[in-house]
Each structure stands twice: as structure tokens, then as C-alpha cells.
């Protein structure tokens, strides 16, 4: 027997950071299934080049920082996949690459990589793409007639109007709710299939890969605001239905808001953070300039999260009095 020394504990109670990331990765891959079945291999190539770019950038950042090649955690893959899923399928393949490079090299590496990033890198990358190439980010092909997209080449297509854009113009989207549930409508690649996103949310919650406070508060506040201030003339319930199912709201709630790293530490702080992000998103839908942008709301909430933490401290009295 060749015994070694090791530090306790020798049992673990919770998933490790890496296994949490792997669960998220699995959930994200599940979102690729339906588009691949429906439109051919292009969703896979898109996700592939995006993840590859993030990997290359991660290695590059590590080279610059420490001189080593090693990539310690799979967070780059999560960033790459989220970015690919937020893009329209008909976007040129360099678009997720550019935003992935931005996400890793500007939003993550300068702050000390995984665990240190004050902003969700994927949200920052998507925001960058939406600001620099709004035309490419918000032009979707019309999925009503089934066809296959080329795997690599840029494609010509008939543009469709997404539900989010219709709502922005104050009209009621003429998309069947069932189509919205399965993602059979014009919109970003991975955010449409509400049922799959919901299943992913349950997976993340029950495998304890994500905390529940922020996403639940986020969705609750979004639903509440949608019911109270509908953008289109309809019953509150219809408004809630269209607001929650359109754009990247659900996807953002499950995969961007639930990211623990840029969120507050405390449980109640996470709830406030989610609620703040939800309020910001709904305000953005009412007054903002783009048709959708969960990522902008997430960035804003990320910046607010240290302040939320501090407010929670103040309320809880988590600062010992001198000589107390």
C-alpha cells in the first residue's frame, strides 16, 4: 500500500464546479437536437465553430497570462454554445466566432478568467454582436416552409418576422402557441423551443447545477410586468404568454441569469438580482431600441449584483461592530 497525504473532506456533498458546468453543457446540447433534425447539420457546425473559437481564445489568453496551454475548466464551451444558440441560424458563421472571441478575450480573460468574471461572458458577447451587427443579429429566416440550410456557406433565405419584433411594433404575433412551444417560429437558433428550455431548467435545478432563486424571480417579475403592462391590446394572460415565449427571455432566464459567478452571493440577493434583471428586461422591451436583448438586462443586473450584496449585508447586519 502506497499511502499519500490528502486534505479532508473525503466525501463531497455537492457537485463540483466542473460537474456543474458539464450539466449546463449537456442541457445546452439538448437544445441543438430539434434544430438539427429540422434544418440539417448547420446548427451543429455553428455551435462547433463557436465553441472552437472560444477554446482557441481561451488558450491564447492562457498563453499570454501564464505561458501555459492548459485549459482548466469547460466554461469556454458553455460560453460558445450559449452564443451560438442566441444567434439566428442564418447568420454567417463568423458572427458567433467574433462574439465568442469578444466574450472570452475581453469579457472574461482580463478579469482573471472563470470564477472572476464580473459579467456573464456570453451576455457580453451577444451584446457586442447586437450592437455591431444588428442587421445580422435580428434577421431570421422564415421557418414555415421546411428546408435544409447549407452546413457552412452563407445562405439566401426568405426572411420571417420574429414574435419579438411583432410585439415591438405593437402587433399581435400570428404564430400558433404550439409552434412557439416547439420553436417552430422565426427567432434565434436555440431560444424558441420553450418546452426544451423548460426541461433544461428542471434538469439544472434538480441536479443542483444552478440555484433557483434568480431564474424564478426573473420569470415571475417578467410575467407580472407583462400582465400589468401589456404591450399589445389583449388580455393579461395572452400578454404573459407572448412575452414569455417570444425572444430570448426564457433562454436568458435559464442560462444567463442562473450563472452563479456574476450573481450576488446571498440567496436573497440572488432573488433581488433576478427580479432586477426581469424588471430591466421588461423596461427594455417597452422603451429599448432593439427588438430583444435579455443579454443587456443581464449585463445591467451583473453590474448591480455587488451593490445588491452590499445592501443585503446592511439589512442583515453582517458587519460586526468594532468591539461589539
Amino acid at each position: 500500500m502506497n499511502l499519500r497525504n490528502a486534505a479532508p473532506p473525503f466525501v463531497r456533498a455537492e457537485p463540483t464546479s466542473a460537474s456543474m458546468l458539464r450539466t449546463v453543457l449537456f442541457a445546452l446540447c439538448a437544445l441543438l437536437v430539434i434544430p438539427t433534425v429540422r434544418y440539417g447539420i448547420r446548427p451543429l457546425t455553428m455551435a462547433g465553430v463557436s465553441v472552437l473559437t472560444c477554446l482557441v481564445c481561451e488558450i491564447l489568453a492562457n498563453l499570454l497570462r501564464t505561458g501555459g496551454f492548459s485549459v482548466t475548466d469547460p466554461s469556454f464551451a458553455v460560453t460558445g454554445l450559449v452564443l451560438a444558440l442566441l444567434m439566428p441560424l442564418n447568420a454567417p458563421l463568423w458572427l458567433p466566432c467574433a462574439s465568442g472571441a469578444f466574450a472570452v478575450l475581453v469579457a472574461k480573460a482580463p478579469f482573471g478568467s472563470f470564477g472572476r468574471n464580473p459579467f456573464n461572458p456570453a451576455a457580453a458577447g451577444a451584446a457586442f454582436a447586437a450592437l455591431c451587427w444588428p442587421g445580422l443579429m435580428f434577421t431570421y429566416f422564415d421557418p414555415s416552409e421546411p428546408f435544409r440550410l447549407p452546413a457552412f456557406a452563407d445562405c439566401t433565405f426568405r426572411t420571417g418576422v420574429s414574435a419579438a419584433a411583432t410585439l415591438k411594433n405593437g402587433l399581435k404575433p400570428d404564430i400558433l402557441p404550439l409552434d412557439m412551444l416547439w420553436g417552430e417560429a422565426a427567432g434565434p437558433l436555440g431560444t424558441g423551443a420553450a418546452l426544451v428550455v423548460g426541461a433544461c431548467a428542471l434538469l439544472l435545478l434538480f441536479s443542483r447545477a444552478a440555484h433557483w432563486q434568480a431564474p424564478v424571480c426573473f420569470l415571475a417579475v417578467c410575467a407580472l410586468l407583462a400582465a400589468l403592462f401589456p404591450r399589445i391590446a389583449c388580455s393579461p394572460l395572452t400578454s404573459v404568454k407572448y412575452e414569455l415565449l417570444s425572444g430570448s427571455l426564457l433562454f436568458g432566464g435559464v442560462f444567463l441569469v442562473s450563472d452563479p459567478v456574476p450573481a450576488p452571493y446571498t440567496a436573497s440577493g440572488k432573488g433581488i438580482y433576478g427580479a432586477f434583471a426581469g424588471a430591466a428586461l421588461m423596461a427594455f422591451r417597452h422603451f429599448g431600441v432593439c427588438e430583444q436583448g435579455a443579454w443587456f438586462a443581464v449585463l445591467l443586473a451583473n453590474a448591480a449584483s455587488p451593490l445588491i450584496d452590499r445592501a443585503v449585508f446592511r439589512v442583515r447586519g453582517w458587519e460586526e461592530k468594532p468591539h461589539g
Binding site: V106, P110, F128, L131, C132, W133, P134
Partner: protein, 210 residues
């Protein structure tokens, strides 16, 4: 003779510090507004740089001469009054050199009068140093500011239009969006990281230099 050479060498060091090692924008975090908000075209950048040098040099030299006569608490007001006075000829000069640029800059040009580089140098540095040092510092700061804003502007203009100094056409560049202030902050951040890296390298090589 020897004294003069020492002075000149000192002035050279001050100038170099202003341009690179202690760049007011990238190390001092001063005067970020013009870089972030207006630095997306080379013509803007050139106009602001010229305006800056015309404001900085005379106002700092004047304050170097008379600054010590003013009580310390009233000095900020004196600085503001002096820059306000020099703003008129400086703005006229820029308009003569680059016709039309002042109009296109609008608020950004107007707010150069209370630029924080000008203010902090004129209030803290100028009254307490000798004439030559103040002159070198004013020139160095101007060059440093001009270098940063021109670099940032060139990058952003190329991204937006595919050319520099109005040689490209809007929309034919790589993408849109970089005329927004965020790009200015990001580029300034990356340049600041570069300068910090250079400073770290210098300190590692020779700790006495810093």
C-alpha cells in the same frame, strides 16, 4: 551650460512620461470623456488634439507664473477662468485649421474647457513647478492625449467606415456600433493594459527607473 543640459534632459523625461509611461488618459484615467464619446473619427481626434494643445500650453504656463500668487482655495476658480479665457482663441484657431470640425464636435469641443487633464495639471502641477518643466509637461500631456485619442479614433473609424480620415464610406466597414462610447472605454482599457504591461516590464528590468 551643464545646468542647461540637465534641465533639458529632465524636460525630456517629463515629456516622455506624459506621452507614454504616465499617460494622463491611460494611467491617470483623466480626460476620458472626449476619448469615449467623440473619439470615433480621425478628424474629430485631430481637432480635439489641437484644441487641447492650444488650451493646455498657454493656460499652464500662465498659471505657472501667477499660480503661487493666488491663495490655494481660490485656485480652482482661477483655473476655470483662465481656461475659459483661452478657450476663445483656441477654438478660433481650430476652426481656422480644420474648418467645420468644431460644429461637428458640438458638446465634446465645448466641454474641453473643463477637461480633467487640463484642470488637474493647471491646478496641482503648474503652480508648483518651474517654467521649463511645466512647458514640457504640457507638451507631453498634449502629445499623450493626442496619441491616445488618435489611435482610438483611427481604430474605430476603420471599423465603421473601412478607411481613415474620411477615406472610407459609412457602412462599408467591418460593422456598426463602435461610435458608441463603450468602444472608447474598451479600447482605452486595452491600451491602458498595454501601457501597464510596458511599465511592468520596465520595472522588472530596472527597478530604479520607475
Amino acid at each position: 551650460m551643464d545646468n542647461g543640459r540637465v534641465f533639458l534632459r529632465g524636460a525630456g523625461a517629463i515629456f516622455r512620461n506624459g506621452v507614454l509611461f504616465r499617460n494622463p488618459v491611460l494611467v491617470g484615467a483623466l480626460g476620458l470623456y472626449p476619448v469615449a464619446a467623440a473619439g470615433f473619427g480621425m478628424q474629430n481626434a485631430a481637432a480635439l488634439s489641437i484644441l487641447f494643445v492650444f488650451l493646455a500650453l498657454p493656460s499652464q504656463l500662465l498659471l505657472c507664473l501667477v499660480g503661487m500668487l493666488i491663495p490655494k482655495w481660490a485656485r480652482p476658480a482661477a483655473v476655470l477662468l483662465v481656461t475659459a479665457a483661452f478657450y476663445l482663441p483656441a477654438a478660433r484657431a481650430v476652426q481656422r485649421l480644420l474648418p467645420g470640425s468644431m460644429e461637428s464636435l458640438g458638446m465634446a469641443a465645448a466641454l474641453m474647457a473643463c477637461n480633467s487633464i487640463l484642470y488637474s495639471r493647471a491646478e496641482e502641477y503648474a503652480p508648483e513647478h518651474i517654467f521649463l518643466a511645466v512647458g514640457a509637461d504640457a507638451l507631453g500631456c498634449s502629445a499623450g492625449f493626442a496619441a491616445v485619442i488618435c489611435l482610438v479614433s483611427a481604430l474605430r473609424e476603420f471599423w465603421l467606415t473601412g478607411g481613415v480620415w474620411s477615406s472610407g464610406t459609412p457602412g462599408s466597414g467591418i460593422g456598426a456600433g463602435l461610435d458608441l462610447p463603450f468602444a472608447g472605454f474598451l479600447l482605452a482599457g486595452l491600451l491602458a493594459a498595454l501601457v501597464q504591461w510596458i511599465n511592468i516590464r520596465r520595472a522588472d528590468r530596472d527597478p530604479r527607473e520607475v
